[in-house]
Amino acid sequence: MKNIIESSFFGVKKQLLFVLFLSFCAIEGQFPIANAQIQLLPLASRTDLLRTNIALSLNGVRSVASQCFQCHGTNGHSKTGIPTLNGLSDETLIQLISARKTNNDADDLMHKQAGAYTNAEIAVIASYISSLPKEASE
């Protein structure tokens, strides 16, 4: 099973533009945005969009990423001493989660949790959480 995740994840990365094109085709009826118009976006937005599509293509991401919210708060907005994830970039999230995965501290519950996910899964979870709205949900 893990292989499917890994391979589709990396497969998608190579085919980003194709996926992007497909998803725009899919919504074209509702939102008349031509593929070419992406070119008009500032570079930053374009990369964001590409990242979003990694998450989009692995569409289980919502149910998987929300498994973080029991402790880190709905949409990653923590209201306790546990760190907030919402508002962090995907790079930062990947860094933070991977660090907990490798750092073998016997008293770290998060070390066990992080260790349960593949690097590819961590990347999509990070991509999803960084795509969520920044304002508090309440």
């Binding site: 998450a55 692995l58 998987v64 919210f69 402790c71 708060g73 949409n75 306790t80 016997a106 349960a116």
Partner: protein
């Protein structure tokens, strides 16, 4: 023209793609010309409240009604700490107001009696009928009988209600050299570490108040079922003069007036008995023919969607379901999200996500200042069609610490927030 296009912010794009609201790749529900899909959730515990909330959090295209017997929820999580005076029930009481206000969940207070799965409606005790497109059941557990057990006198305090306050009164009435006895049923039961945790906090109360006395732990299991290192150290070191741990002792009969417990090994007498009887899925599950797993105690479900293997359009989550995952509040919340996601997908004509993850995490107090933790993560296994423990993902803290005691409150408050607000 191009100005406008260039002005499209990232936010706009995400919204256009249905991501602004965190709806990644799940198509908008289309039920053209028909009424909006209606999902009924029965039971507002950790499982049901989370399901109701996340259905609406992820989609405003469905209507969600949560039917709950009580006006508010008293969390069993942290409730043991009421016994040694570290928490009040008020701190563990949650209303459903925020689910209404923040997510537009409709709340109906009432008791569901009968499910009409053919015509897809539920019937409440007072006769009210409500129809559904999908039904999610989260009624928790009910107890099985033990000979001679009078549950008005001998308490379990194992359900989300205020019985823990009565148990506390009983504990406070114990005099010097008095005896408290707790019994643990065979696995599977609600909250694997819970009974050991309760033994620890009662022993903590005995120790700090210099009561002498004994806490007898009768375990129907062969050994401590979870976090054994920490609990055994607590029983044999921290509370060595107080706790008497007796494994493989199954309660066969209780004299509720005399405070005597008959086991297959020996008889025990105590001033306060706290008998936790074996349990099974909530009455709603049994009364409607949904307790169809091998043991006939729990509801067999598809772990991808939590849909009953018995009756279509009915999903069962939390302690009532029989996937073999631990019966606990943290993972009940976890299952509820998998189920909510699957229900939204099914309503939009898609199939449930094929690789769900669930996790369990729990901080357990050992004294009034220290706690330990346990955790495990589960993944769907295609060959067995089961949720399987991910190798190496389960573990416990090395020892109880004060830092973990503080983290316990953060963990619980986060879980309460993610479930009820």
């Amino acid at each position: 023209m191009s100005n406008k296009k260039q002005g499209l912010s990232r936010r706009h794009f995400l919204q256009l793609m249905g991501l602004g609201a965190g709806i990644a790749a799940v198509p908008i529900i289309t039920k053209a010309a028909q009424s909006r899909p209606h999902i009924i959730v029965v039971g507002g515990g950790f499982a049901g409240a989370t399901a109701a909330k996340y259905l609406r959090h992820w989609s405003k295209d469905v209507d969600v009604t949560l039917i709950e017997a009580n006006a508010s929820y008293q969390s069993p999580i942290l409730s043991n700490l009421i016994l040694n005076g570290q928490r009040s029930l008020k701190q563990l009481n949650f209303s459903y107001d925020k689910l209404v206000k923040n997510y537009g969940v409709k709340i109906v207070q009432g008791n569901v009696k009968k499910i009409h799965s053919g015509k897809k409606f539920v019937e409440l005790e007072e006769g009210k009928k409500l129809s559904y497109d999908r039904l999610i059941l989260a009624p928790g557990i009910q107890f099985m009988d033990i000979k001679g057990l009078d549950r008005k006198k001998v308490l379990h305090a194992w359900l989300p209600n205020n019985e823990i306050l009565q148990l506390k009164k009983q504990v406070l009435s114990i005099k010097k050299e008095g005896v408290f006895l707790i019994s643990i049923p065979k696995k599977p039961y609600r909250c694997p570490p819970g009974p050991y945790e309760r033994a620890c906090v009662v022993a903590d109360y005995f120790k700090r108040n210099k009561l002498g006395g004994k806490v007898i732990v009768l375990d129907a299991n062969a050994k401590v079922t979870v976090n054994a290192n920490n609990f055994m150290r607590a029983f044999y070191e921290t509370y060595k003069d107080i706790v008497e741990y007796i494994p493989q002792a199954s309660v066969e009969e209780v004299d509720s007036d005399k405070g005597v417990v008959v086991t297959d090994v020996e008889d025990y007498r105590a001033d306060v008995l706290n008998i936790i009887p074996p349990h099974q899925a909530g009455a709603l599950i049994h009364d409607n023919g949904l307790a169809n797993d091998k043991s006939k105690r729990w509801a067999a479900v598809d772990p991808l969607s939590y849909e009953s293997t018995e009756t279509p359009y009915i999903h069962i989550i939390g302690d009532s379901q029989g996937t073999g995952q631990p019966k606990a509040g943290h993972i009940a919340n976890s299952e509820a999200k998998i189920c909510a996601d699957a229900v939204l997908r099914l309503l939009s004509g898609n199939s449930p996500y094929y690789f769900p993850r669930t996790n369990s995490a729990c901080y357990t107090p050992i004294t009034n200042k220290t706690a330990t933790w346990i955790t495990s993560t589960y993944a769907y296994d295609l060959t067995s069609n089961k949720m399987k423990l991910i190798k190496g993902s389960n573990g416990t803290s090395k020892k109880p610490t004060e830092a973990n005691y503080q983290r316990m409150y953060d963990w619980a408050n986060s879980l309460f927030g993610d479930t009820f607000s």
